[in-house]
Every structure is written in C-alpha cells, then in structure tokens.
Symmetry: C2
Subunit: 97 residues, 2 copies
C-alpha cells in the first residue's frame, strides 16, 4: 500500500499473537535503548513462525546496534536482551539442566 | 561437630542436588558481589525443600546486603538475582501468560 495507515488496517485479519507482538516490540526496544535488560517470554510468539522470525531479527538488530547482547534461555522459551555494554556470559555454573 | 571438616565428610550421605547446590551457591554469590546478574535454574533445587529454602534465604540475604534485587520468573522455575543498585521492574509488557 502507499501509506502506513492502509497497511495497519489490512493487518486486522491476522492473529492475536501477531498483533500483540507488533504492538509490544517497540516497547521492548525502548526499554533496551533506555539501558534496561528485558526478559521476553517467546512461547506464544513461536506459534507464528513468520512473525517470530521478524521479531527476533528486529531484536537481534537492536542488540547489535546498541552493542548489547541477546540470548535464549530456558529451552529457548525466553530471550534476554541487554543494552549498551552489557554482555551475557554463556558460562553455566554447576550442572546445567 | 566441633569442626567444619567433619561436617563436610558427614554431608556425603546427602543427594547430588544438595551437594551441588552447596557447591554452586558461593559462586553465584561471588558473581553478584562482582556486579553481575545471575539467572538460576532452580527446578532441581526445589526437589529438596530444606536445601531449597536454605539457598533461597541465602540469595535473598545477598540481594538485600548489596541493595540489589531478586525475583522468580517462568512459573518460578528461574530466579534472577541482581547486584548493587540494579532493580527489577515487575511490570509486564503485553499479555504475559
């Protein structure tokens, strides 16, 4: 479409997960840009593969942009994204899972 | 017992979870004292209620000592503990579960 508004209307046909994720992603990015770490439950998001991949690409871009970090935890149920200069150690203390 | 060594030997009779947790807790505390955030999978620890409560009390004391924070996430499968001045927002962005 020629403008954003028309695209927004068109997206009404899509599922709840899709719409919620499109709505929440800017908030998540804002938090990271404001130097906060965000833990994201992606269980429901994964039900919609295309949206999942789009959101994950978006979050990875943010992590790289700010020189932060991003990792999946809990059998990939959660994603942790960190702001500028906050790096995530991949080391596991103890037995792991 | 009169000395620590004897207590250590005596603890050999206890389960793996107990021994591992006793071994890992100082490492977790060190990380927090070194200004790191630690995400702890407590699923196995919860199998031993007494040790679980002891470790949780210990971690809560550390969080309070350093003026950090501690919270359970993922249906209480994980505990996040933060170092000095790092506070955890309880706000959930989006639907949650």
């Amino acid at each position: 479409a020629e403008d954003g508004i028309r695209d927004l209307v068109r997206s009404r046909g899509l599922g709840d997960v899709y719409k919620r994720q499109l709505k929440d992603t800017p908030r998540i990015k804002d938090e990271v840009y404001n130097n906060n770490i965000v833990i994201i439950d992606i269980q429901k998001l994964k039900l919609d593969k295309i949206t999942f991949e789009r959101v994950m690409k978006d979050l990875k871009d943010v992590a790289r942009d700010v020189n932060g970090d991003i990792i999946g935890i809990g059998d990939q149920r959660y994603v942790v994204i960190t702001p500028t200069s906050v790096k995530i150690s991949r080391e596991k203390i103890g037995g792991g899972n």
